[in-house]
């Protein structure tokens, strides 16, 4: 590429104004624009998945099921799971905040493979389109796990189409993870050694390892399922000597690492927010980064804890149980280190910090209840109940979605060049926290009392707790609509953001808000660790 003349400034000359045609967006290779394309897409899918969740909760207001159709109910929770897992949670932070921030944190001008980055968005859109098409045709009733032989033989839904959509979005994940890993290895600015990298980069590196090495196993597994459904013969078919349990092993070999694909970027976001709003260096930096790496490694060896009751030898169960306990250790290290960072810090309760505090509390509850489920004896009782649903949502919604909103608010001034309205953001964060707990805490009790998951009706004695949960869901839904309103408002009316509104360390705050297309007109040189206060003055990117 020959030298581009860059005009950098507050708004004029930023990446946002460098080409204003639709074509300049749809064919862009700028990581910042691709991040925004992704942000629009995953927001869309978040609300599709959310509508399905709302209908599920609506159905469960009365014991016999308001929709009065088990088949419809099955399709709704399948749609909720598929859309939320593969089209929101897995991509959410990496492809939006990660895509935007990684090159900035590296002091680089783009990711290593910008065209691959754009291709990954098109793969994602193609996969999403297939999944939506399956949805409009009536969806599928298999649950997001596609267990055989239901998915291969008995399901009445559009399994092949939905699986094809997930298959394509998986390759989008692989492309993203590959791009991140290579970029972090190869594009660090001069002086940016591994131990000078922000924790966010370490987290995204760890999750990229999982994306790159676990997703292809899902791809081949789903391909085998689709072909078995089409030809009515295959590796998971016991009639010819195949084994449905083999499917479960292969599926969870991906899908357990996948929950760390979903939560590791959340850890990364929180590790940026907590030091910034405590105005303090992060506590135990090396412990936090190696905790991320060990989570990535151990998570490959714990998939069996999803199968304790589906036919597994006692010895295998014991090994998987112990390994699952082990993965809790690095997660706990992180929680303690965030608390250590806040200890004696000068804490500011801005909206990102409120989300981070919510994350720490809710993730801890989600994590500790995970230990109950990792215990062989307890799991036999609790698996297949609402306890699992509550545990999963405490980690994924209470944890991950909080982290996503925290990170979105934290980097919003950098991304858009505008400040969001602080008061509204704090209100939304508080409502989200309360709505979340009202929705999901009753589900712990329901599960403990024995209400099974995935049924469209339930015994009348569970109604009070279910109504509480559904009431919480309406509060939660309104809390999700708030940011959609005020963030869009801020695009037009928000105050202009300075380069470093939070007095944060980190290279991304050293360039203008929003950054110029090349990110840094002069490649920065890094001379110190990632969280040294006070941060240096931002460098004006005018040429």
């Amino acid at each position: 590429m020959s030298t581009t003349v860059v005009k950098a400034g507050e708004i004029e000359g930023s990446y946002l104004t460098d080409g204003t045609t639709i074509r300049s967006w749809l064919l862009t290779t700028d990581h910042k624009r691709i991040a925004l394309l992704y942000l629009g897409s995953i927001t869309f899918f978040f609300f599709i998945g959310g509508i399905a969740a709302a209908l599920v909760r609506l159905n469960l207001v009365v014991p016999e099921g308001l929709l009065n159709s088990a088949e419809t109910y099955n399709r709704l929770f399948t749609m909720h799971g598929v859309i939320m897992v593969w089209f929101f949670l897995v991509p959410a932070v990496p492809v939006t905040l990660g895509n935007f921030v990684i090159p900035l944190m590296l002091g680089a001008r783009d990711l290593a493979f910008p065209r691959l980055n754009l291709a990954s968005w098109y793969l994602f859109i193609a996969g999403g389109a297939l999944a939506l098409w399956a949805l409009f045709l009536g969806g599928s009733d298999t649950g997001w796990t596609f267990y055989t032989p239901l998915s291969t033989s008995y399901s009445q839904g559009h399994v092949v189409l939905m699986v094809a959509g997930i298959f394509l979005s998986g390759f989008s994940s692989i492309a993203t993870g590959l791009n991140f890993m290579v970029s972090i290895h190869r594009l660090r600015a001069p002086g940016l050694t591994w131990y000078r990298m922000p924790v966010f980069l370490w987290s995204l590196y760890s999750l990229s390892v999982l994306m790159v090495l676990a997703t292809p196993v899902l791809a081949i597994t789903l391909l085998l399922v689709a072909l078995e459904r089409i030809f009515q013969i295959g590796a998971f078919d016991p009639a010819v000597g195949g084994d449905p349990l083999l499917f479960q092993h292969m599926f969870w070999f991906y899908s357990h690492p996948a929950v760390y694909i979903m939560i590791l970027p959340g850890f990364g976001v929180i590790s940026e927010i907590v030091p910034t709003f405590s105005r303090k260096r992060i506590f135990g930096y090396k412990f936090i980064v190696w905790a991320s790496v060990s989570i990535a490694v151990i998570s490959f060896f714990v998939w069996g804890h999803h199968m304790f009751v589906s036919g597994m030898s006692l010895y295998a169960g014991v090994v998987f149980s112990i390994l699952s306990y082990m993965v809790a250790v690095p997660s706990a290290i992180k929680v303690f280190n965030w608390l250590g960072t806040m200890h004696k810090g000068f804490i500011h309760f801005d909206a990102p910090m409120l989300y981070a505090l919510g994350f720490i509390g809710l993730f801890t509850i989600g994590g500790v209840t995970g230990l109950w489920l990792a215990a062989l004896g307890a799991d036999v009782d609790l698996t297949q109940t609402y306890f699992v649903v509550a545990h999963f949502h405490y980690v994924m919604v209470g944890g991950m979605v909080s982290a996503f909103f925290g990170g979105l608010h934290y980097w919003w001034p950098k991304i858009t060049g505008r400040m969001y309205p602080e008061m509204w953001a704090r209100v939304a964060a508080m409502i989200m926290f309360m709505g979340f707990n009202l929705t999901f805490f009753p589900q712990f009790i329901l599960g403990y009392l024995g209400m099974p998951r995935r049924y469209s009706s339930y015994p009348p004695e569970f109604q009070v707790l279910n109504v509480l949960s559904s009431a919480g869901a309406t509060i939660l839904a309104s809390a999700y609509l708030l940011p959609l309103g005020y963030l869009v408002w801020s695009l037009f009316r928000g105050a202009r953001a300075p380069a470093n509104p939070w007095h944060a360390t980190g290279l991304e705050w050293q360039t203008s808000s929003p950054p110029p297309t090349v990110n840094f007109v002069h490649t920065p040189v890094v001379t110190q660790g990632p969280y040294e206060y006070p941060p240096p003055e931002p460098v004006q990117q005018h040429v």
Partner: protein
């Protein structure tokens, strides 16, 4: 694009930086491919373990000579491509193009033998796994059907990868004809070579699984 002999994109410091990054990216992509085919081969070996007699009967119904000939063809194609890489390192664009043509021709021959001849014979021999008049009867039938499930999926996937490889080699030929590669800059040649050799190695794994194990 700059018109200098060794262009590089603006996120890289220089051509060498870009070249090493591209090569690292391809190696990582191949790692994902190992896991992709690895999942398939894991399922294959697992099912073989439980259905040994059926899988043996299936292996005996394959056409050993085509598989063996194809193995030689594919290994030779990798040799031809590697020779092309050696040519461009000393600046011979013509040598590169000739070697790439040989590589692509061998790849097409493989596809012709595999899908034109062998799959055709397989259908004629009634070994497609879900047909009612399946060739192998008796207690081995289930396992043999399963064997051919893996046979068709794995050779189909490998064939798709090979089609992609032939496309990439053609792309290298077109770029080489425009004189884009020099001893200093031939990263795409190197990267495509890694991919081609990987597709070759997949076949070297599939060959014994399909034709040899359980045949004797």
């Amino acid at each position: 694009m700059s018109e200098s002999a060794a262009p590089h994109d603006f996120q890289y410091a220089d051509t060498q930086h870009q070249a090493q990054t591209a090569i690292a990216g391809m190696w990582l992509f191949l790692a994902t491919e190992v896991l992709f085919f690895g999942g398939l081969i894991l399922a294959w070996i697992y099912c073989r373990h439980w259905n040994q007699a059926g899988f043996d009967a299936g292996a005996r119904a394959t056409e050993l000579w085509i598989g063996t000939l194809n193995t030689f063809i594919l290994v030779t194609s990798s040799f031809a491509y590697a020779t092309g890489l050696a040519f461009i390192r000393v600046g011979s664009t013509r040598g590169l193009i000739r070697c790439c043509l040989v590589t692509a021709a061998l790849g097409l021959t493989f596809l012709g033998l595999k899908f034109g001849l062998e799959w055709h014979d397989d259908f004629a021999n009634h070994v497609f796994p879900n047909i009612s008049d399946f060739k192998i009867k008796g207690p081995e039938q289930g396992g043999a059907r399963l064997f051919f499930v893996f046979y068709f999926i794995s050779t189909g996937l490998h064939g798709l990868h090979l089609v992609g490889g032939i496309g990439l080699v053609t792309w290298i030929i077109l770029r080489a004809r425009r004189g884009e590669f020099t001893p200093q800059y031939h990263t795409p040649v190197h990267v495509v070579g890694l991919y081609w050799s990987f597709v070759d190695i997949v076949w070297l794994t599939l060959y014994p699984l399909i034709y040899l194990i359980g045949r004797g």
